[in-house]
């Protein structure tokens, strides 16, 4: 099951592991831009390179 969490909640979960500054900073990547501010532009498709590793292949190699 997938559940969307707020970037602040995600930051809360990171802080005990990486510290306050890094946890809040990284989680801030996922904050919505302020009203009226432009969002992050999508990358130029000409610059995109696709890697071979699928999520399922990667997950199968993890020690969960």
């Amino acid at each position: 099951m997938f559940r969307t969490v707020s970037h602040t909640d995600y930051g809360d979960s990171m802080v005990p592991h990486v510290g306050e500054e890094a946890g809040r900073g990284v989680a801030g990547f996922y904050a919505a831009p302020p009203p009226g501010a432009p969002g992050m532009p999508a990358p130029d498709p000409a610059l995109v390179r696709t890697g071979p590793t699928t999520v399922s292949a990667w997950a199968a190699r993890q020690r969960w």
Partner: protein
């Protein structure tokens, strides 16, 4: 993946952040390809077998120039620095040291979105400064960054317990297709850019499939 024609001779490559989540896969890849790997370290660190430590500090430009001297290439990864008085200065120190040491080529792993202009966020602005200045600092420059999050975020200590219990909790809309990227694919792109005669100036790296939240949960 395909790459431009490449030089197969082993290189001496200095790697920033060699023990970090993003640097370690790069180191493994470079070692597997037969390159000599140097790790930029501020203090004694446990390094992978075969990796030689070289002292240097992003807050000490002269130490960077010394560390870079004589290498064939540098792989730069900047730490997440939130102090505005240090973040951009570190990026400028890297550029200055690359020029002073005459480093032939460098690959910069942004580690996040490529932001084309300064936005007032120290660690993002540092990355913009470095990405923008790199082509004028070395002979061959290449910048790589992810199109989306890394799959390794899902196995991080703050996520893995929930994933084990069957829930992926992430700050993205459930319906948005996301091209999750594995760090081993990032490492492959970095390694190819280091040996390509004419690597892409900028690459945005994506996973092979864009998954919605439910598709992601099912794939795990």
């Amino acid at each position: 993946m395909t790459s431009p024609a490449s030089n197969s001779s082993p290189l001496t490559v200095l790697v920033h952040g060699a023990t970090g989540a993003q640097g370690a896969p790069v180191v493994r890849r470079l070692l597997a390809e037969g390159h000599q790997v140097l790790a930029l370290v501020r203090r004694d660190s446990a390094l992978a077998e075969g990796v030689e430590p070289v002292r240097g500090d992003l807050d000490d430009p002269a130490s960077l120039a010394r560390a870079y001297t004589g290498v064939d290439a540098v792989v730069v990864q900047l730490p997440l620095v939130f102090d505005p008085s240090r973040a951009q200065a570190q990026a400028e120190a890297v550029l200055s040291a690359l020029r002073e040491a005459g480093v032939p080529r460098a690959v910069f792993n942004i580690g996040g979105p490529l932001v084309p202009v300064l936005v007032g966020v120290p660690y993002l602005d540092a990355r913009t400064v470095l990405a923008t200045g790199l082509p004028s600092a070395v002979g061959v420059a290449s910048v790589v960054g992810p199109a989306g999050p890394y799959v390794e975020n899902l196995s991080a200590a703050w996520s893995a317990p929930q994933v084990r219990d069957g829930t992926v909790a992430y700050p993205l809309p459930a319906g948005a297709p996301v091209p999750w990227l594995a760090l081993e694919d990032l490492a492959e792109a970095v390694a190819e850019a280091l040996v390509a005669e004419t690597p892409p100036a900028v690459q945005v790296l994506a996973g092979p499939e864009a998954l919605t939240g439910d598709q992601l949960a099912a794939a795990l």
